[in-house]
């Protein structure tokens, strides 16, 4: 029964699978009591998940058009649609790869049964939440998905067990709840004004009325809280530094990106008539401040994971340059900026996950991660340092890595739109990030002075798989650096309102 579905390619059936699969995995891991079994099962599950998404990727490229999947067969206004376009498929791709690597990493990372029994279900629920957020085409559905992501991240951060981690988790939870409430209020106002929840329908009916500004303002503030843009970023460093390594890797790489994705969708697609150029530039301004403040704080951070967390704050700043670039662009070539930011998201996801894993392995091996005390010790972890170096190179934007291509595309769109000040911001950002990255890399090269070596102490051996995962992600970052054509071609299939149907990338 249900409305006659549009001609459906076989692969479109995978969409609900992409969300249902992690939920089933969560249930299974909850029921399985033996920790080794749940770990092994999770790795299998992650690979199946990757295969499914790869299949979705290839068939989306063949179909070349935006996919809509009516859940429950009721169609847009009444039911909820799963929507997949170029931008969200790239994010999905980033999620699967990072999930695959983090799963194998945490299989070796968590040992005690208490932790594993609670980690795996939460982890798979987080993955389900992420996939739901990227795929959903309904405003309220996004709220629930963001809520899942928020709460599971809080639970995962609290998993670390010590007081500082739990305090950070609590602060993160309060921020998450407040952000979601503001978002919900925004959606309520939109529903009150336009009567529908579906994003596509909304984008057609929205005009620049006061209620829309209020709704957009509330939604943006809620999501800025969850994305931790500069003024509202205070909760991120302690949360990401306190959490266990695989969790902070997933948090930094994916969770903050989900709320950014929703924000981008609202500003560029749904309420684009209401989005004034000045507001977009305000977001850009906050982004620039985030870059500089993040680098400054990272240079002064005392602990390795805190440094990496502050670098996340900085790199997020780059993402927010999307808005001023599209604002000045006008409808025609906005897709170049969007392509640049999509690529940056993927590159940053891989690099940041690899960096956190490397930091985690170093911390596990040495037992502490104060940067000063790591001076001579770190040279015993060559692979982790190497992973950290490549990830750092990608954050700085040095050539062989994906970060360089993203920086190149950003610079390109900045020049095309004639806003030379963003060029200065991007370049200075790169230079400042070089300072704190090399502040850590220098540790690997300092010879162990006499007295230093005694305090360093022998490092505990850590399982090979942990280092291998970080290394694989680093290799993926470098691979991104070489063939950008493949990933950028997806940006032609674009839902975002004024960009839909634009001619392929210049």
């Amino acid at each position: 029964m249900g409305a006659p579905g549009i001609v459906m390619t076989s692969a479109q059936h995978f969409l609900p699978l992409v969300i249902g699969l992690p939920l089933l995995a969560a249930v299974f891991c909850l029921l399985v009591s033996n920790s080794r079994w749940s770990a092994r099962f999770s790795i299998l599950f992650a690979s199946i998940h990757t295969l499914v998404v790869m299949q979705v990727l290839s068939s989306l490229r063949d179909s070349g058009s935006v996919w809509r999947y009516e859940l429950g067969g009721w169609g847009a206004p009444l039911g909820i649609d799963l929507v997949l376009d170029g931008f969200s498929v790239i994010l999905l791709f980033a999620t699967t790869i990072v999930v695959l690597c983090v799963t194998t990493y945490s299989a070796a990372y968590f040992k005690t049964p208490q932790q594993t029994s609670r980690f795996w279900p939460l982890w798979w629920l987080l993955v389900a939440g992420l996939n739901a957020a990227f795929l959903s085409g309904d405003a309220f559905n996004l709220y629930v998905a963001l809520e899942i992501i928020g709460l599971s991240s809080v639970a995962l951060v609290a998993l670390a067990g010590n007081v500082s981690a739990i305090t950070a988790a609590l602060r993160y939870a309060l921020v998450g709840l407040l952000g979601s409430l503001c978002y919900l209020m925004g959606v309520a106002l939109l529903y009150r004004a336009y009567g529908t929840l579906d994003l596509a329908l909304l984008s057609q009916t929205v005009q620049g009325t006061p209620i829309t500004w209020a709704a957009l303002a509330l939604i943006s503030v809620g999501l800025l809280l969850k994305t931790a843009l500069l003024p509202l970023h205070f909760w991120l460093p302690p949360a990401h530094a306190g959490a266990p390594a695989p969790v902070s890797a997933a948090l930094s790489a994916l969770v903050v990106k989900a709320s950014f994705y929703v924000l981008a969708r609202f500003w560029l697609d749904v309420c684009s008539p209401a989005a004034s150029a000045d507001a977009l530039n305000l977001l850009g301004f906050f982004g620039a401040c985030a870059i500089f403040w993040g680098c400054f704080a990272a240079c002064r951070a005392k602990r390795l994971k805190l440094l990496v967390a502050y670098s996340t704050v900085a790199q997020l700043g780059y993402l927010f340059l999307l808005f001023p670039l599209t604002a000045a662009y006008g409808p025609s070539a906005g897709s170049a900026a969007l392509a640049a930011v999509a690529y940056l998201i993927v590159a940053h996801a891989f690099a940041k996950a690899a960096m956190f894993m490397a930091a985690g392995s170093i911390q596990l091996a040495c037992g502490y991660d104060d940067i000063d005390r790591l001076r001579g010790v770190v040279s015993h972890q060559p692979i982790s340092v190497f992973t950290f170096a490549i990830a750092g190179a990608s954050l700085i934007g040095l050539p062989p890595t994906g970060g360089f291509i993203a920086k190149w595309l950003l610079l390109n769109s900045a020049i095309d739109s004639g806003q030379w000040w963003w060029i200065a911001v991007i370049l200075c950002g790169g230079l400042f990030s070089a300072i704190y990255i090399f502040r850590v890399l220098i540790l690997a090269f300092t010879a162990r002075q006499g007295e230093q070596s005694s305090s360093g102490g022998p490092t505990h051996p850590i399982p090979q798989t942990m280092m291998a995962c970080g290394f694989m992600l680093a290799i993926a970052t470098v691979a991104l650096g070489f063939n950008a054509e493949w990933l950028l071609s997806y940006m032609d299939i674009n839902l975002i309102g004024f960009l839909a149907g634009t001619e392929p990338l210049p």
Binding site: F140, V144, E147, L151, V154, A155, A158, V163, I166, T167, A169, L170, A173, L174, G176, L177, L178, S180, L181, L184, M185, A188, L189, Y191, R192, L197
Partner: protein, 97 residues
């Protein structure tokens, strides 16, 4: 001043009050109460829009129901974290004395 407007203003009032409470009240439990209050505010706005003359729109009702459950879940998690921290701090002070 139709019924809808009354409930909308109260809803927004509650939301603002809850917002102030979350931001500026020190104690954690009070903050959670404030969050629930602003949640109720949002639900008021939603349900005010749901009530039309002839027909009652079921969709906001479903949204509010889901909202309530999610609010409960969120509050429960925050409470559990608070108690967790409190116990650890107390035992810590116990040990340190």
């Amino acid at each position: 001043m139709s019924q809808d407007l009354i409930y909308c203003t109260t809803g927004i009032g509650l939301f603002a009050l809850g917002l102030y409470g979350v931001l500026f009240v020190a104690h954690i439990l009070r903050k959670l109460i404030a969050i629930n209050i602003s949640g109720i505010g949002v639900f008021l706005v939603l349900l005010a829009t749901a009530k039309h003359e002839g027909v009652v729109d079921p969709v906001p009702h479903a949204m509010v129901l889901t909202g309530i459950v999610v609010a409960v879940a969120g509050t429960a998690l925050c409470l559990w974290l608070t108690v967790n921290i409190h116990c650890r701090q107390i035992t810590q002070q116990g040990e340190s004395k």
